[in-house]
């Protein structure tokens, strides 16, 4: 059941991205071109999504548990960290360079364009690189401070927002 829901959610998500214009890097770059010929239309994508999700979120989390899973898995991190800011800054640079963020890129893979194919391959490589880097830095800090509490608390929770 959880797999069926995930697949349906993924499908609706992709349709939303395609209909909204997010799968068109030219439009995305136009939206980010605040200093030039700014095309603000894509603000309505986030606007529409946030209105629906903000209302739904408040109703849904009143439930004792989700319909399928035994509990909600929601982000618990509260602190604004250097990783959060540096990572988001790098993501923004990549977004402005390519015009793709992860969802629209993956949705566009089936269109068969070389550009999207290359973007998705290097994006997955970037994600893999982060994993290697995180593992190395966890090992480094574990060697520096023998108490394993810090990497254990940080590691699994870090990815939870997304």
């Amino acid at each position: 059941m959880r797999h069926v829901v995930a697949a349906v959610a993924g499908l609706i998500f992709a349709l939303g991205l395609g209909i909204s214009g997010m799968t068109d890097p030219g439009k995305v770059i136009g939206f980010l071109d605040v200093g030039g010929a700014w095309e603000p239309a894509l603000a309505f994508v986030m606007g529409g999504a946030v209105v629906v999700y903000a209302l739904a979120y408040r109703l849904i989390v009143r439930r004792p548990r989700p319909v399928v899973e035994v509990k909600f898995s929601l982000p618990t991190a509260k602190k604004v960290t250097t990783s959060l800011v540096v990572g988001s800054a790098l993501f923004g640079i990549g977004w402005g360079l390519g015009g793709y963020c992860p969802g629209p890129a993956l949705t566009s893979v089936v269109s068969g364009s070389w550009e999207v194919g290359l973007f998705v391959v290097t994006m997955l490589a970037g994600m893999g690189l982060h994993q290697v880097w995180e593992r190395l830095s966890a090992r480094g800090s574990a060697a520096a401070a023998p108490a394993p509490a810090a990497p254990l608390a940080e590691g699994p929770l870090k990815g939870v927002d997304a």
Binding site: G10, G16, G48, F91, L97, V109, V110, D161, A162
Partner: protein, 141 residues
């Protein structure tokens, strides 16, 4: 910016919000693409299937769009291949380091009034705008 663009953007946005709401209601999870897909690269026991299913749905949605609304995918992308390759690396690494992208931080995080997500969105919007500005200066477009 004409009315049809705004309507399409809003309808698409509502669908994205609806998808994220369904995912939260049934599976109790945040629909953040970089997190869902990134987790596939380091699979933990019992944590793989739903991620693969979500990705499968995303790809199936792309195929459906290709059949019914191919205009969603432009024939031309305004960037060269080397730039796109570098962009992918930055997006992949950055979204994992920053714990989220446009969906996890943007849609879901802002809706939950998360301070972390607000900081993330402000940061990637700013560096994205600066990058586009600099690219226009460099390429002269």
């Amino acid at each position: 910016m004409d009315a049809s663009t705004i309507i399409a953007a809003s309808v698409g946005g509502v669908l994205i919000g609806l998808s994220a709401a369904i995912f939260l209601l049934f599976n109790g999870r945040i629909a953040g693409i970089s997190g869902v897909v990134g987790g596939l690269l380091a699979p933990k026991a019992g944590d793989w299937g739903w991620r693969a299913a979500f990705l499968g749905g995303l790809l199936a949605g792309g195929a459906l769009l290709m059949m019914l609304y191919p205009e969603a995918f432009p024939a031309e992308v305004p960037r060269s291949l080397p730039v796109i390759g570098a962009a992918g690396l930055l997006v992949g690494f950055g979204t994992r380091l920053g714990s989220g992208c446009t969906s996890g931080h943007g849609v879901c995080g802002l809706s939950r009034f998360s301070v972390r997500s607000a900081v993330a969105v402000g940061t990637f919007m700013t560096t994205g705008a600066i990058t586009v500005f600099v690219m226009r200066l460099v390429t002269g477009g």
